[in-house]
Symmetry: D2
Subunit: 139 residues, 4 copies
């Protein structure tokens, strides 16, 4: 199973007055993980959009186990946990490098849609090559 | 049951290159809803932090039903859906004013913690008045 | 001279670990001010983009006089300080409602460009009606 | 003269509906540059805050020369352009790796303040070692 690794350094702008990284930043990190995952498979999300396929979010969940702090070095581990013709689920773990602790876990579900009309499409029919690459990454 | 209403106008900075509001903005809007909910009960979250109680996130989920666009007028409806001694769950609906459509739903779970050491506390023991006010808002 | 007023409540997500609103939020507030200013003149920035005119930033400056805090109620005052055929300068003041203090000042310069090719255009030639409305707002 | 280099990959969440990186993101990138600059000198900004010194912004300016796009690889070059006892000016260049183009330039002025009371201090009196290190980096 393909698992991509994205290195993140927590930014000052991402902190809040509790002194920790604000929870709304984790979905942004997950997205960095997704970008790298797709790049790792030999595609790029930029290219997919130019090819007329977009991946808007259907749902998001995140569990916060330990707070992240400014300047923390973190690894976002990304995998595909489910692939259907019309949607895909990515799963993420946020790992703190200093002690290998998993500080957060989450997942996002995305529809495959046409860029021009936002209609849901079958990725298998629209682009079999991408479908097979995504499918194979799960093995 | 108390249900607070927060008016939001979607900001340009909140859009992404898909032409819609980025999904990471919804947790920020939920937080605006939470702030208003607590204010509506006669407290303020700023004051709670000064009194030594913080409400860090334990988990977050959001379902995206319809995209929001720049300049959309939206209402965030906030309620408490569960209250335990050590944590609280807020639920949210994002409603588009132009057609009353519910465009997103979500919830957040928060621990009650001490501001100085981030240790989980019983809100009932720590501040019975706040506990009762929160509890009563659910009826 | 037209001066629009936009009410803002500082959001928790906008704070940083210094306990104040992060400086990168002010350009977002300025943009809220711009949106309201254009709406006040009877247009909308959304409509201008649909009509093929975009206003990307050429430059930005901001002076921070006093910190803003979470839950602060603020007014963004927006005016046009300069209008040329190919670019426009907006000026902003951020006023704290509790004591009327000006806590920040700034300005942004924007080029008028075609939405399709990002080429700079003369707004006077492209849309005389908008040019005149903007010009008149300065008197 | 010390010039630090910070590598950035533009994030999807940082785009706006113009299809480019939103202008409010550049101050966040400058901050990443600052963090790396101070680390490069052998300190860390986290540590400086723990030692009771904060560097809130006094002013910010940014000139946008070319748009940045999603997935662009960028280098933030950071230097100190001015150092006084009570404030410091950092200067930044944002360079697009693909063609070495300078796509933006900016600077930020920061006051040296006490973490507990936000009073301006002389960094030379407060911490001569940091002052000398910063001063030497300009030669």
């Amino acid at each position: 199973m393909v698992k991509s690794q994205s290195k993140i350094i927590a930014r000052y702008a991402e902190t809040d007055q509790m002194g920790i990284i604000h929870h709304s930043v984790y979905p942004v990190w997950f997205e960095v993980g997704r970008t790298d995952f797709i790049k790792y498979l030999g595609y790029s999300y930029s290219q997919m959009e130019k090819d007329g396929i977009m991946l808007p979010l259907v749902s998001l969940n995140c569990v916060y186990l330990l707070p992240a702090k400014y300047e923390d070095e973190l690894i976002i581990q990304t995998t595909i946990s489910e692939l259907k013709y019309s949607n895909i689920t990515f799963s993420y773990e946020v790992i703190r490098v200093s002690d290998n602790a998993v500080i957060a876990k989450g997942s996002t579900v995305h529809a495959f849609v046409n860029a021009n009309d936002f209609k849901v499409v079958s990725i298998k029919k629209k682009n079999l090559d991408i479908y097979n690459t995504l499918k194979n990454s799960m093995e």
